[in-house]
Amino acid sequence: MPRYYFHIRNGSGFIRDEEGRELPDEAVARDEALKGIRSIISSEASGGLLDLTGELDIADAQDEVIETLRFDEAFQLRLPGSRTS
């Protein structure tokens, strides 16, 4: 199975994934990235912070970035006064 790396950039700086994970394909890697973003945000949210300004880079075994996900792309956002997006 190919190895994917999940690097994070947000308010607290850049966090490199040195370990990576073997996953079946890019679609599964994307799902894992979304789960990761959601778990970080939900933990921060329970502490009273909702910061969606970060990004997550999915990199392949050669450490080439194959996709960048903005944190807000991991959520369906409904804010007061805005339409459901």
């Binding site: 994070i8 789960k35 778990s39 970080i40 933990s43």
Partner: protein, 239 residues
């Protein structure tokens, strides 16, 4: 072969030479278990217990979608399924997280041992009670501790447990687990674990890299984890 097991027992009680000889005699054979192998599956009828001699194993339960929750980590010297002696099958699986060596102990020999030495029956009863205490502490982590405190607490627990069996120095210990393994212990995602490890590192508390845990500030790490070793029952007394 079972030196670490004896270290673990003797940290909590006196074990006589005669009892030691009897414990050594219950081991039928040793086996190697490769990493990532599910060694005992749930609901399979068992007539032996497994004593971990080297490596790290875990108890886990999982859901149909593949989500796995590790409920306890086992280190060298632990029986991974002493409770199978009375339960006869497990409600969870046991997996090797690293290459492991185990000793196989037939239930019938445990029966003879505990009938001959009622004190050892109580010592092993204590052992299953200790596992239950560890489960309760993990419940508190999973239900209530923040992500950073959960990781800090697990790293504190392993520091104490590995130290007891001679596998930690005063600075740290080898922990050849992946961030995915840790995530499955902590109810977090690997991405989240990576981020929290960075936070703990930047606070100068602990560093986990390349399979090694480097304790930088033991007092501070215990404080953020609200770790107290009281649930590990480290006092030596007659059971």
């Amino acid at each position: 072969m079972i030196e670490r097991h004896l270290l673990k027992l003797r940290a909590r009680d006196e074990i006589s030479d005669e009892e030691e000889r009897a414990i050594r005699a219950v081991v039928a054979r040793a086996e190697e278990v490769p990493a990532d192998k599910v060694y005992i599956r749930h609901d399979v009828l068992l007539d032996t217990c497994t004593l971990l001699l080297d490596g790290i194993m875990c108890r886990y339960k999982d859901l149909r979608n593949g989500e796995r929750q590790i409920t306890e980590l086992h280190v060298a010297g632990d029986f991974v399924d002493l409770h199978s002696f009375t339960l006869k099958r497990l409600d969870h699986d046991i997996m090797a997280l690293t290459p492991c060596v185990v000793a196989i102990v037939p239930h019938e020999r445990i029966l003879e041992l505990t009938e001959r030495f009622p004190h050892l029956a109580r010592v092993y009863w204590f052992g299953t009670n200790l596992d239950a205490a560890i489960h309760r502490e993990w419940e508190l982590s999973l239900g209530r501790r923040t992500a950073a405190a959960r990781i800090a607490h697990l790293l504190c627990e392993l520091f104490v447990r590995l130290g007891l069996v001679g596998l930690a120095t005063n600075k740290g210990y080898d922990l050849p687990l992946t961030q995915t393994d840790l995530a499955e212990c902590l109810g977090l995602t690997p991405v989240h674990v990576n981020r929290m490890l960075k936070e703990l590192r930047e606070q100068g508390l602990v560093e986990f890299a390349s399979g090694h845990v480097d304790i930088r500030n033991w007092e501070g790490l215990q404080r953020i984890a609200e770790f107290s070793p009281s649930y590990l029952y480290l006092e030596r007394r007659s059971r």
